[in-house]
């Protein structure tokens, strides 16, 4: 190093009195000169250093919001909800959603004759599996989060939404991408809504694994029973869809009553 910043220049630099070219030259020099970096300390007020350090460390320390959540901030979703969503361990529910969607597509492809039946049978279960996998019994922070005042119902519903963000498009993609399934691409949504609500309702009594298992088994049995008398395509008819809509509305109402009753009884929601 052939030169060092002298006291006069440092004082002018700290006071912001250097012309832009000289200030830029000092900036560039300090980056590569440990002696001048050390000398700089003597020319800056400790309070200023503290403020600069706090600002820098705060900027570095602040968690970065995942890409998929950034648009939600623009839509006005509260910052604390975004923190919960960004922290939720979603690898398992998302893997479950994508995995079960791929399994559904594979089975539908393997059995061209029963393609529609397979799709109607399995697609509504994709969100159920994702929601169950996102529920709090699989939360690694459960022991930390339970004794906090944050609403556990809100926590569960935020995770449910996060799980559905992947599960619904995954199931929909199968319906739209596999030739021959296009007419059914949206017909699985209402059964899926009802089954997901049923799973959430059961989760107020049962563990995630048992609740998810019960809903899946009940759906498979129900579809098999219908299949004995009718073609399974009957589930896609307007009448059946209306029935699913009514069932979903009833389940939503029961779910609301159940959760508010749990609160009155001192339950942990």
């Amino acid at each position: 190093m052939t030169w060092h910043v002298n006291t006069q220049v440092w004082e002018a630099y700290a006071a912001g009195g250097l012309d832009p070219a000289t200030a830029a030259s000092v900036d560039a020099h300090v980056v590569s000169c440990p002696t001048c970096r050390e000398a700089a300390r003597g020319h800056v007020e400790p309070v200023t250093l503290e403020v600069v350090w706090t600002t820098v460390s705060d900027r570095i320390g602040r968690p970065v919001l995942p890409l998929w959540l950034r648009p939600l901030r623009g839509l006005g979703v509260p910052d604390d909800d975004l923190v919960v969503l960004s922290t939720a361990s979603l690898l398992l529910p998302w893997a479950m959603a994508v995995g079960s969607a791929l399994a559904c597509a594979m089975l539908a492809g393997l059995m061209p004759t029963y393609q529609e039946t397979t799709f109607l049978l399995l697609a509504p279960l994709i969100p159920v599996l994702a929601v169950v996998a996102a529920y709090d019994s699989t939360d690694p922070f459960r022991e930390v989060s339970v004794p906090t005042p944050y609403s556990k119902m809100r926590l569960a519903l935020l995770r449910t939404v996060a799980a559905l963000v992947v599960a619904v498009p995954a199931a929909m993609a199968i319906g739209l991408l596999i030739p021959g399934l296009e007419p059914l691409a949206f017909r699985w949504l209402l059964p899926a809504l009802g089954l997901t609500l049923a799973a959430l309702l059961l989760l107020t009594w049962l563990t995630a694994e048992v609740a998810g298992g019960a809903v899946c088994v009940a759906w498979l049995v129900a579809v098999a029973t219908v299949g004995r008398t009718y073609e399974v395509d009957v589930l896609a008819t307007a009448a059946a869809q209306a029935g699913f809509a009514v069932a979903a509305a009833v389940l939503a109402a029961v779910f609301l009553i159940r959760t508010s009753t749990l609160r009155l009884l001192g339950g942990d929601l």
Binding site: P140, V144, P149
Partner: protein
């Protein structure tokens, strides 16, 4: 002023009784909870932390009855901090991110205030410069301090710590003791480190087989062992434990001392072992 009250509280898991009917009042100060593995320490802590409902009895935390009313339980949760025995962290999370999440769960809604609180507790556990680090990159001791920091968010009236000094080196333990001894509220610490109890606690509880077998101050605990710990050329007959000291003497806890042995000052560990020994020798004796 009572910070927490347990009235005839018991907890069973199926046929296993983890805590027998227990009554207890906690006031400001540092309380140590000693007991062997499986004695019911963690169960008692989880009950107080409202992480577990009792099978019977009544629990009041910071004036709020947590056993019946949901609203009171939420209010109590606003006033307590809990460090579980083990915390599993999701991959990729930073130290700051972890505390930020817990602060949200503790209802710190305002982002600036929340981040200020996160920085405060990071500083308390001397991790102020580690906020941006991934938790997976922290050492075991740093991770433990991070979990202690989450319990301290919001300066709770009741701080419940399950084995906080596990994994900390002697310097970090001393630093943590300094921090805990300076807190204003009630601190309940379950520990296997009798040294923590003797240096830090105003009160000691010894729990065994789901029952509190001792409740008193450290000097009172030491009194129970007075004249029962000896050093001599040979071990005491029937001693609970013996070992050879650096001076070549045999130190014996309990038992019939050797005629040439002299009584020595007992430690909290001696007193604890004697209490445990008493319990095991009286087990199965009809009352």
């Amino acid at each position: 002023m009572e910070t927490a009250i347990l009235e005839n509280v018991s907890k069973s898991f199926g046929r296993t009784v983890a805590l027998r009917p227990t009554s207890l009042v906690l006031r400001p100060g540092v309380v140590g909870l000693l007991g062997p593995n499986g004695a019911g320490k963690t169960t008692m802590l989880r009950l107080l932390a409202t992480a577990l409902p009792p099978s019977s009895g009544r629990i009041v935390v910071a004036g709020h009855e947590v056993t019946t009313s949901h609203a009171d339980r939420i209010e109590a949760r606003r006033r307590l901090g809990y460090l579980p025995q083990e915390v599993v962290f999701p991959r990729g999370m930073t130290a700051f991110g972890f505390l930020d999440y817990v602060a949200v769960l503790k209802e710190w809604r305002d982002t600036e205030a929340r981040h200020g609180e996160v920085r405060r507790v990071l500083g308390l556990v001397q991790l102020g410069d580690r906020g941006a680090r991934k938790v997976s990159a922290l050492s075991g001791g740093q991770r433990r301090r991070l979990t202690i920091a989450q319990a301290m968010i919001g300066a709770p009236d009741l701080l419940i710590l399950d084995e906080p000094t596990t994994g900390l080196d002697p310097e970090q333990r001393a630093s943590l003791r300094g921090l805990l001894s300076g807190l204003v509220g009630t601190v309940l610490i379950a520990t296997h480190q009798t040294e923590d109890v003797s240096t830090l606690c105003d009160r000691v509880l010894v729990i065994e087989d789901g029952t509190i077998s001792f409740d008193g101050t450290v000097p009172e605990l030491l009194t129970t062992a007075a004249g029962r710990v000896h050093a001599g050329p040979a071990a005491s007959r029937g001693a609970i434990t013996t070992w050879k000291t650096g001076t070549g003497q045999i130190r014996s806890v309990g038992g019939q001392p050797h005629p040439d042995a002299v009584p020595v000052e007992p430690s909290v560990e001696d007193a604890y072992l004697l209490l445990r020994g008493q319990a095991s020798t009286t087990e199965g004796v009809p009352s």
